[in-house]
């Protein structure tokens, strides 16, 4: 009781130094937690770009290539797979759902993906996040198009606007446009922080329709069929680029993967996205190591600055300690007073740092999500962060012990003959 009172009053008496000490601890803690959080977000943002999908199936290529062009909009497919194989594989009893993907076109630098209703129903990322609409509906009709949030923002699109698809994946203006067959926006997606935000979605029928009278990669000269005369019934989809699938039970994933890889009708490849993503992330592991080293350096610097400000504050109090000693405080009382004070300062610093970090991220998270695609998921504090905080707290107490031991020894000598 008297300890608390003495410490609080004494700290208030030295409000300026005390505040500086607390702020320096708080800033170190906030910085440490922010770096840790960034590290977590960088990894999670990468490995959680797709979830709940057990296999991605495409034409035979490298696993890296397959995942890059399906999930990250990077690189190109080397080949397509036939609709027939897709239909055959889909029949398998153990498959719960599939999402077909047809790639190869773009719209003003954004990739166009042909897919079907399964995409809107089943595609998931970051655990159990599903595709959601800001407004509008899925692109199910032939000339329907759905745009990702960044596409909408950059091109300033609205429901009902016309979209002209360019042949091939190009940045900016394409050479050959499917301008004879414009699409109409029926839906705009909510931001996801994944490549979905930068993608334009049409139906498989739409993808087939714009290419229907193309021969050997050549655009039709003229006499192309009029847009309004094209009907779903007349369109025959004969190939897609890749598809995602979910099995009814995870146990069957590996045997299904082997089955696809050994599929006799066509050279196919199936990869497990989670495994491939962590493999890629681990090979890019330097990024994480660098962030981890930064974390540790921040921790070390934070501890040193904490040490110096706590020690400076406690040195200021030597005279105070001598007075207490002379009016009857034992060395143990003095020592516990000092340890108590640094423990209190450390706790205040820790709480302020935590609060600062939480509040900052609470207010900035919206901006970070839309601007950098930084999504904060998972627990607020991880195991590692709790360990760091405990290390800081224990260091605070140990730091308090240094002057405590010093003053317990020297106060007797200073004793009663205190000189001003």
């Amino acid at each position: 009781m008297i300890f608390l009172k003495l410490t609080l009053k004494s700290m208030r008496n030295r409000a300026f130094t005390t505040t500086l000490t607390i702020i320096s601890i708080a800033l170190s803690v906030a910085l440490l937690l922010s770096v840790e959080r960034t590290r977590r977000v960088a990894r999670d943002g990468f490995t959680n770009a797709i979830s709940q999908t057990d296999l991605i199936v495409g034409a035979r290529t490298g696993p890296l290539n397959l995942i890059l062009y399906t999930v990250f909009n990077m690189g190109n497919a080397s080949n397509n797979i036939s609709w027939k194989s897709y239909e055959e594989l889909k029949k398998n009893q153990i498959i719960e759902w599939t999402i077909p993907y047809s790639l190869g076109d773009s719209h003003r630098g954004f990739r166009v993906i042909g897919t079907d209703e399964n995409f809107y129903q089943h595609y998931q990322f970051r655990g159990d996040q599903k595709i959601e609409f800001q407004m509008g509906n899925p692109a199910l009709g032939i000339w329907d198009v759905v745009v990702g949030s960044q596409v909408q923002r950059k091109l300033n699109y609205n429901l009902g606007d016309q979209v002209i698809v360019t042949h091939g994946v190009t940045k900016g203006e394409g050479i050959q446009k499917h301008d004879d067959k414009p699409f109409k926006i029926t839906g705009i997606l909510k931001p996801t922080g994944t490549a979905i935000d930068q993608t334009v979605y049409i139906s498989l029928y739409g993808m087939e329709a714009i290419h229907m009278d193309w021969k050997n990669g050549q655009a039709p000269n003229k006499a192309s069929i009029q847009q309004d005369k094209i009907l779903k019934e007349n369109l025959k989809i004969d190939q897609i680029t890749a598809f995602f699938l979910r099995t009814k039970s995870r146990i069957q994933t590996l045997s299904l993967q082997r089955f696809v890889n050994e599929y006799s009708e066509e050279p196919l490849m199936a990869i497990i996205p989670g495994a491939t993503l962590s493999e890629i992330w681990n090979s890019l592991g330097q990024i994480e190591t660098v962030l981890q080293i930064i974390s540790l350096m921040v921790l070390a610097i934070g501890l040193v600055s904490m040490l110096s400000s706590l020690l400076a504050g406690l040195n200021e109090r030597r005279r105070e300690m001598s007075i207490l000693r002379s009016i009857g405080a034992g060395p143990m009382q003095i020592a516990s007073l000092l340890v108590f004070e640094s423990a209190l300062l450390t706790i205040l610093g820790l709480s302020a740092g935590l609060a600062f970090e939480f509040i900052a991220f609470y207010f900035l998270s919206g901006w970070l999500e839309t601007t950098f695609g930084f999504y904060f998921t998972g627990s607020i504090l991880t195991y590692t962060e709790v360990i760091y905080l405990i290390v800081i707290f224990i260091s605070g107490i140990l730091i308090g012990l240094i002057p405590a031991i010093k003053s317990a020894r020297s106060a007797l000598k200073d004793g009663l003959a205190i000189k001003l």
Binding site: G328, G330, Q333, L412, L416
Partner: protein, 225 residues
């Protein structure tokens, strides 16, 4: 009846100095006596006070206070003995600037665990402060006090744990002439009333006549400076 303080064959030197600083073969002080201990600066007066209060350990001889042998006490027992039996008044008052007067006065009680119920403490502090004329300043900040008032707070703090002995180390050197006389009168009154033994250290000869007994430090200390 034995004396309140008995010092015999006391020898003291700081461990890092070979020179003996104190050598007192015999000093007796009775209970309730008011002693004026005089000597030039640096002769070891303060050191003697620190030995009596148990802050410094002596090398040889014996110091008995109230029939307790100081040499037989452990350091923590000495701390306890000091906080229960000895009140100390300093030249520089040594009040804690961030506590108010009431808190400064009662701090020794909190530190030595002598805390009784709070009403009694209020009563004790009040009666002491009334005597000292600072009863209406109790909840003021120490910084707002005059030097004389600060000294009286220091006296109140020394008295609050009802000590049997008060050691005063040049307590008047910061006071002007007028305040000094008033202060001494007050201190004597309280000591007489409570039968407190007082050892008052000073280099100021003019105060000598007011005490029961005056001890010339150089006469009892056999070390030649």
């Amino acid at each position: 009846m034995s004396s309140f303080i008995e010092i015999s064959n006391l020898k003291f030197s700081f461990s890092n100095l070979t020179k003996t600083l104190l050598d007192i073969s015999d000093l007796k002080i009775n209970q309730g006596e008011k002693i004026f201990l005089h000597g030039p600066s640096g002769c070891g007066k303060s050191t003697l006070l620190e030995i009596i209060s148990g802050v410094l350990n002596f090398n040889h001889g014996e110091v008995m206070i109230d029939q307790i042998s100081m040499s037989k006490l452990t350091p923590s027992e000495k701390d306890q003995f000091r906080s229960k039996n000895i009140g100390y008044i300093f030249q520089n008052f040594n009040l804690l600037p961030y506590l108010n007067i009431f808190e400064n006065i009662t701090l020794p009680l909190h530190l030595n665990g002598k805390i009784k119920n709070t009403e009694n403490i209020q009563q004790d502090v009040k009666s002491i402060c009334e005597k000292l004329g600072i009863a209406d300043l109790l909840y003021q900040n120490v910084g707002q006090l005059s030097v004389g008032q600060q000294q009286r707070v220091a006296v109140a703090r020394a008295l609050i744990s009802q000590p049997k002995l008060i050691l005063a180390d040049e307590p008047t050197s910061a006071l002007d002439f007028d305040h000094r006389d008033k202060f001494l009168k007050l201190l004597f009154e309280i000591c007489s009333e409570k039968k407190i033994t007082l050892i008052f250290v000073s280099h100021d000869h003019s105060l000598k006549s007011k005490f029961d007994r005056s001890i010339e430090f150089n006469e009892i200390n056999q070390v030649t400076p």
